[in-house]
């Protein structure tokens, strides 16, 4: 199944994501009203979900301008597709899946091969995490805080970042990621593991992580 068909196929219920995406007060009413063309209701849906959708786009794309453009596209697409939402999954799960598929199509249109073929989501050897058996392998000092982790995730090679965000942040299962990225579930598991290993490397030297780019560049 290609990404285009995923955009129009109702998703199967995912109990795990229902747990992470509990219904928001007033959301169901806003969805029904927006389906009937209520502009205020659609505005409410935007207000409820804009930050999550934008953050998802920003993490996948690593660029503020593109993330804002994709957020816009995602909500326009939502407006057109809202009538097909049947409530089999949490609304935010459905919206995030729609957003992920739009971002992946955008990346493919840009000619980035990293999400199109199994072998090309593997970052280069230079980017791969390094293991030296026999050498000392100290644990991370202290617990991982979310701000530092966010910076480290932004520093990941795109292929690793994609799988890590989809699995560990968004909560998609490996089989779902495999379908979205058109790779095997084994490859998804392997890429996730390498992403976590790479993050461990990056988190050992947090002072070397670049600051997060959260501002739109001027004169886009």
């Amino acid at each position: 199944m290609g990404p285009l068909s995923l955009l129009t196929t109702p998703p199967k219920p995912n109990p795990g994501l229902f747990k992470r995406n509990p219904p928001i007060a007033g959301e169901a009413e806003a969805i029904e009203a927006a389906k009937n063309g209520d502009a205020d209701a659609f505005s409410k849906l935007y207000a409820l979900h804009k930050r999550r959708v934008y953050t998802l786009c920003l993490r996948m794309l690593g660029n503020v301008s593109e993330a804002e453009d994709m957020t816009q596209d995602a909500f326009l697409h939502l407006f057109r597709k809202l009538g097909s939402f049947r409530g089999e999954s949490a609304f935010s799960t459905w919206l995030h899946r729609l957003t992920v598929n739009l971002v992946l199509m955008h990346l493919r249109k840009k000619g980035l091969q990293l999400v199109s073929l199994e072998e090309t989501i593997n970052p280069s050897e230079d980017d791969a995490p390094k293991r030296d058996f026999g050498a000392r392998d100290p644990a991370l000092a202290g617990s991982v805080d979310r701000v530092t982790l966010e910076r480290a995730v932004a520093s990941l090679p795109p292929g690793y970042r994609m799988v890590f965000v989809l699995h560990d942040v968004e909560g998609f299962e490996h089989n779902e990621i495999a379908t979205m990225l058109e790779c095997s579930t084994g490859n998804s598991k392997s890429q996730l593991h390498k992403a976590r290993l790479k993050l461990r490397e990056l988190l050992r030297q947090p002072e070397q992580l670049p600051p997060l780019d959260t501002k739109r560049e001027a004169a886009q």
Partner: protein, 98 residues
């Protein structure tokens, strides 16, 4: 890598560190919401290989913290121009095309 290797008949007690790490992607995937570091099947191996225990705990910590990223921080939101653009395009196109 196969998609779902059979882990039930694997004896982890006498593995080398490299062999154990080869299994880690599948062990984490199979653990789901559980923890590899707390699974009794690996207790003997991990007790004998503290570097591996450190690695497993660090990767679990990274995965746990990643869940907290699902809720975006308050300062991360699109600019007002995004909604302005959406609103103007919605006015220009027919309602609920599909």
């Amino acid at each position: 890598m196969s998609d779902s290797p059979n882990l039930t008949n694997v004896n982890f007690d006498n593995m080398t560190q490299a062999q154990f790490e080869d299994y880690l992607p599948d062990l984490f995937a199979a653990a789901g919401r559980g923890k590899v570091s707390e699974d009794p099947r690996f207790a003997k191996f991990l007790a004998a290989h503290p570097d591996c225990m450190n690695l497993v705990r660090d990767l679990e910590s990274i995965a746990d913290t990643a869940k907290s990223l699902f809720e975006p921080s308050a300062d991360l939101e699109p600019s007002d121009a995004v909604w302005s653009n959406i609103a103007s395009k919605l006015k220009a196109e027919p309602q609920n095309l599909d």
